[in-house]
């Protein structure tokens, strides 16, 4: 099983939106943040930026609410994907996703979501700040853990 996933460090993101542009360009051959699988929430006044993308939940709410079974989870690879040909465009998944990740292409009338570019996420490649990373679950948690430990130690040293 592939345990890698996209990990986002909200504090590193500067909100440049390169990931959105690259994503829409790779998947839709067009430059449009609205067609991007990864979207940035920008708190413009506070200069905070939160990229939002699919978490590939183990129990995906989008899968549960889909009335036609167009969303499937492959429990071997962990992948959650949409079969566009089955999608009826009811937008229930866009409402169900707790992250607001599930996107909707109004022109085609289907929902769409992150597919990790088949294992080589382009947004990660183009993200220059290091805010978006494609890491093994264990490593990502380890980084988080050690950064927390560092801060504790610094407090302690003071």
């Amino acid at each position: 099983m592939d345990t890698r996933g996209i990990f986002i460090d909200y504090h590193k993101c500067v909100g440049c939106g390169t990931c959105e542009m690259v994503c829409s360009l790779v998947h839709e051959n067009a430059c449009a943040p609205a067609l991007s699988r990864i979207r940035i929430v920008r708190y413009r006044r506070e200069a905070l930026n939160v990229p939002v993308t699919c978490a590939f939940c183990e129990k995906p709410p989008c899968l549960d609410v889909c009335p036609v079974g167009a969303i499937t989870k492959n429990y071997e690879t962990g992948d959650v994907s949409i079969r566009a040909e089955l999608c009826i465009g009811c937008r229930q998944c866009t409402q169900a996703c707790p992250f607001g990740h599930m996107n909707f292409n109004a022109a085609q009338g289907t929902a769409f979501k992150c597919d990790l570019c088949g294992g080589d996420p382009q947004c990660v490649k183009f993200c220059w700040t290091g805010a978006i990373e494609y890491l093994d679950n264990e490593i990502a948690v380890d980084i988080k853990r050690s950064s927390f430990a560092d801060s504790v130690m610094q407090q302690h040293d003071k």
């Binding site: 609410v65 009335p67 229930q92």
Partner: protein, 412 residues
């Protein structure tokens, strides 16, 4: 791209509509054997009863007449797959893709008296016109599928005395299990329809005109017989062109609705697809299946790669104001491994849900259709009933799927 569609029915028109929506430049020719425009066969009983007017039968179509040529009254004589052409009205028409949606026709048994005036089928508008012109007062309906039941009900509404003859031991034998079938039978009988099950028609008697029917049990005097004992696929054209025919008698297609010839697709009543729930070959002669198949066939014609998930039997019926519905498989069609039947009965309603191997395999309801739509989709999604419990226990999910609350009571 030139596309020829054989058949001016639900499948043919749906295919044309889909192609036009997706590729407005495609040149479409629809060849219809009947010389009347596209109408809904499902509304024929309503027309027979006088609930709707004749013009309401004809469906409005938003096809662009500059790009779509509809030739009515032109039966296709043969298909020449090697030349990519069909002959219709002596003319050779070439195609890039061909969609066969030739439909089906009612079966008439080969018994004495079948050719006499007063023998009717219900398939086209003309059949109804003929019944209305005949103005029968005492009618026998052979077969109790949905067409038979609807015909009986509408004729009874018109003041006729109606009897139903069914070969099998219960009515609607392909649609309902025994108990719900009995409920429906009661409703019908309460309204004065005579029902004889387990009988077979033997002979139509009369003197140049139907005067009675002899079954293996009795003789019924009547002035008309309506044959609704099944339909057969129109596969002669395809068979003559060398297109493979399946074991059940329909045109054999793959999941993309493609026949054994790469340029020829087929959809509608004339094909043999697989069942959604079991995956076995199945015939599904229903309007909604025909439309879904036509959509798939049309999109694959245009080069998309869309798979048809499989046919699902799905019938909604109105028995004297009581909605009845059936979807999926019957108890006798199941393997009965870990079979669980949930039945709920109130004064006016009855629900039956068949669960096998933690999968919903069949739903039948009489009297109320509440929550049946969501259940139907759970069946299509192959969701285990235990999942529903999980969804109801999760406020986040429930917020998006409140109808689960109504389903829940059926699965307790």
């Amino acid at each position: 791209m030139r596309i020829i569609i054989i058949g001016n029915g639900a499948a043919g028109n749906q295919a044309a509509q889909t192609i036009q929506n997706r590729d407005p430049e495609a040149e479409i020719t629809i060849l219809g054997a009947e010389s009347i425009p596209f109408y809904s066969a499902c509304a024929l009983p309503d027309y027979l009863a006088g609930w709707i007017k004749r013009d309401q039968l004809f469906l409005k179509s938003s096809l662009n007449r500059h790009r779509v040529e509809i030739r009515l009254g032109q039966a296709v004589e043969d298909i020449k797959p090697d030349r990519q052409a069909v002959t219709a009205g002596g003319e050779l028409l070439f195609y890039d893709r061909l969609i066969i949606a030739s439909g089906s026709r009612p079966v008439l048994p080969n018994i004495p008296g079948i050719g006499m005036p007063g023998n009717f089928v219900i398939k086209s508008v003309h059949d109804i016109d003929r019944i209305l012109a005949h103005n029968p007062r005492r009618i026998v309906v052979i077969g109790s599928g949905n067409i038979g039941i609807e015909a009986a009900e509408t004729l009874e509404y018109q003041g006729c005395k109606v009897s139903i003859i069914e070969m099998m031991p219960r009515i609607m034998p392909r649609l309902f299990d025994e108990f719900p079938a009995m409920l429906i039978r009661k409703i019908l009988e309460n309204h004065g329809i005579e029902i004889h099950t387990g009988e077979k028609a033997q002979e139509v008697i009369g003197n140049n005109r139907v005067e009675g029917l002899i079954t293996d049990c009795r003789e019924i005097s009547c002035d008309a017989v309506i044959w609704a004992a099944g339909v057969r696929q129109n596969t002669e054209l395809a068979r003559a062109a060398g297109i493979e025919i399946g074991s059940l008698g329909g045109i054999k297609v793959d999941s993309q609705m493609k026949t054994s010839h790469p340029e020829i697709y087929a959809c509608g009543d004339c094909v043999e697809t697989s069942d959604l729930l079991t995956g076995k070959p199945a015939l599904c002669l229903l309007w909604s299946c025909a439309k879904a198949q036509a959509e798939v066939a049309a999109r694959n014609c245009l080069g998309e790669k869309i798979a048809y998930p499989g046919a699902l039997k799905l019938v909604a019926e109105d028995a004297y104001g009581k909605p009845c519905m059936a979807a999926g498989l019957l108890e006798e069609e199941l393997n009965k491994k870990e079979l669980k039947i949930i039945e709920q009965e109130t004064e006016n309603t009855y629900h039956r849900i068949l669960i096998e191997n933690e999968r919903i395999m069949g739903i039948q309801a009489v009297g109320s259709m509440e929550a049946m739509g969501p259940l139907l989709y759970l069946m299509k999604k192959m969701v285990a009933p235990s999942e529903i419990k999980r969804i109801i226990n999760s406020p986040v999910l429930l917020k998006n799927m409140p109808w689960m609350l109504t389903i829940d009571k059926y699965l307790q």
